[in-house]
């Protein structure tokens, strides 16, 4: 019995220790973001916190413009993906047709294309069509991973709804489309919300495409971090402030979709 008692104490302690280690780097970035330059370099724990870095980032570096760029790209691509993806998901969930699974897996494989493989054709096509550094180009390229993701996620959510619900609606004289609008859509709302949040997170985080396909006007948040390395040295405090602001929405959103994480992180392949 003694051994069991000791185990019950050790396990939680070790677990929380691991969680602390996991979160430490993020906490560390936050600390640096509220330090003055002297305190960052001289490394002391007793310092007066300052929000100067945040103010500088917003006033001097026009950070709000990059946030707005990110938001408009992310919102547009998410809305389009959810619309097209949910429709297609319904098609995959409720109809039987030839080669359905092959088609579904082809769609899934698109989600896994390496960004460095697609960035070259997009770059050249963007140059030809004069779309480089335009938000539209980013919206289009982000559809490439968001639509497949939405299809697979929403297919899972739709398959979870019993078919009998729809069938009784058909008997009452609803068409397929009406059934989709009146029965399916309202019932998958939570799933739709979760899928939108996942699309938001992965588009907000995207770096490689944004980095190569924009230069100034349409820069998104992840691509501006490196601009704080100047001839005068690295502006650690400002950089950290950008980092904290950039990951804040992501952390909040992750908490919101906590229930669906397993599903989201395997693209709906595993029911969490």
């Amino acid at each position: 019995m003694k051994g069991i008692k000791r185990k019950t104490l050790i396990v939680p302690i070790v677990t929380w220790l691991i969680i602390l280690i996991t979160l430490f780097p993020i906490f560390w970035m936050f600390l640096i973001s509220i330090k003055q330059r002297v305190d960052i370099i001289q490394f002391n724990w007793s310092f007066t916190p300052t929000f100067k870095n945040y103010v500088t980032v917003f006033e001097k570096y026009d950070f709000i413009r990059f946030i707005l760029n990110s938001l408009s790209v992310v919102a547009t691509t998410t809305v389009i993906s959810i619309f097209l993806g949910t429709l297609a998901a319904y098609g995959f969930a409720r109809f039987k047709f030839k080669k359905k699974e092959n088609l579904a897996f082809w769609v899934l494989s698109l989600r896994m294309l390496p960004p460095m493989a697609v960035v070259i054709p997009f770059f050249i096509m963007g140059r030809m069509l004069n779309l480089l550094d335009k938000q539209l180009l980013l919206v289009i390229t982000y559809l490439g991973f968001n639509i497949p993701f939405t299809i697979w996620m929403m297919r899972g959510f739709i398959e979870d709804i019993p078919e009998s619900l729809e069938e009784s609606a058909w008997i009452d004289g609803c068409t397929r489309w009406e059934g989709f609008m009146r029965i399916i859509l309202p019932s998958v709302m939570p799933g739709l919300a979760a899928t939108s949040i996942f699309c938001f997170i992965q588009s907000w985080n995207e770096f490689a495409l944004a980095f190569f396909l924009t230069s100034f006007n349409s820069r998104t948040v992840p691509t501006i971090v490196n601009s704080f390395i100047s001839v005068l040295g690295v502006l650690w405090g400002e950089m950290a402030a950008v980092g904290v602001v950039a990951i804040l929405p992501i952390i909040v959103f992750t908490m919101l979709v906590q229930k669906h994480l397993v599903k989201g992180l395997t693209m709906g392949a595993i029911k969490g």
Binding site: W236, I247, V262
Partner: protein
């Protein structure tokens, strides 16, 4: 119930499919074509021409850095995924052993893998800095020599460490959620029969969570092969080409030093090819677990 005409599914699927073909198939074909040309961003107009498989031949027989980048990608992938698997499973078992605050614990532990990768590179740049990074401050604190974390011999190791920090939570989450679905009867029966914890894990638990684990591992492997953001943010492939994974080699060929888009495209095609077997395996596994 058959209310639909024969092709009604297309009404729902076609819009998304058309968009996907336009924005993925079309560029991919374009990529194949460019990889057969001498396309160069610094080229004089009119000198663009087809060169056949010359770009591929260049990569295979002249460009030693290409082979090195494959080696680095493989080392990075195998070591990271291997350590993450072992560590992640161990932590998941630990979490499973103590279920108080489990929701809170699993949502806290997952944070590193949803944080913007570009920001992760930044965080670790702060922590690994030789002069005033926290890691070296701690090392100096216990009287050891500070380490040059992003030096020629250590940079790849640092990248692997970061990957482990970032992605072990993924394995933890997946294993942990798999563990929740292990039925209790066979476990109890095994315990009654006197099976040790290790035997129960080996014969009951692991076989049960194997499908979810293999999908997770394959997804993670693809993630590793694709990796660009953090490597770019932290080392840009350097020092020299010590951390030049395949994506970074493409970057160097096409955008950074030279503007050989043709050669970079050939390399990108090969990167695509490298992911195909893993994606095929993944499809098989997902198909299997959906049918269960």
């Amino acid at each position: 119930m058959n209310l639909n005409c024969k092709h009604e599914h297309m009404h729902y699927i076609a819009p998304a499919l058309i968009v996907l073909v336009l924005i993925t198939i079309f560029p991919t074909i374009f990529l194949y074509i460019i990889s057969l040309t001498n396309y160069d961003l610094a080229q004089k107009p009119g000198s663009l021409s087809f060169v056949g498989l010359k770009n591929y031949w260049y990569l295979f027989s002249i460009d030693k850095d290409f082979w090195k980048s494959i080696g680095i990608t493989l080392i990075f992938t195998i070591v990271s995924v291997g350590v993450e698997l072992i560590l992640g499973m161990a932590i998941a078992f630990l979490l499973d052993g103590n279920r108080t605050f489990r929701r809170l614990k699993s949502s806290l532990i997952i944070i590193p893998m949803v944080v913007t990768p570009a920001i992760i590179a930044l965080i670790w740049k702060l922590m690994l800095n030789t002069e005033y990074g926290i890691l070296n401050t701690m090392i100096k604190g216990i009287g050891l020599h500070p380490v040059n974390w992003l030096g020629i011999d250590t940079a790849l190791l640092s990248l692997i460490l970061i990957d482990i920090w970032q992605w072990t939570p993924y394995i933890v989450l997946m294993t942990y959620s798999g563990l929740q679905t292990v039925p209790s009867e066979p476990l109890e029966a095994a315990a009654v029969d006197g099976a040790s914890w290790l035997q129960r894990a080996r014969y009951v638990i692991i076989p049960h969570i194997k499908p979810i684990l293999s999908i997770t591992l394959l997804l993670k492997t693809i993630e590793c092969i694709k990796s660009f953001d953090i490597v770019y943010g932290l080392t840009q492939g350097g020092p020299g080409n010590a951390t030049e994974v395949m994506s970074l080699h493409i970057f160097r060929l096409g955008f950074k030093q030279t503007h050989w888009i043709g050669r970079a495209s050939a390399n990108a095609v090969l990167l695509l090819v490298l992911t195909i077997p893993i994606i095929t395996l993944l499809s098989k596994n997902i198909k299997y677990s959906r049918e269960m």
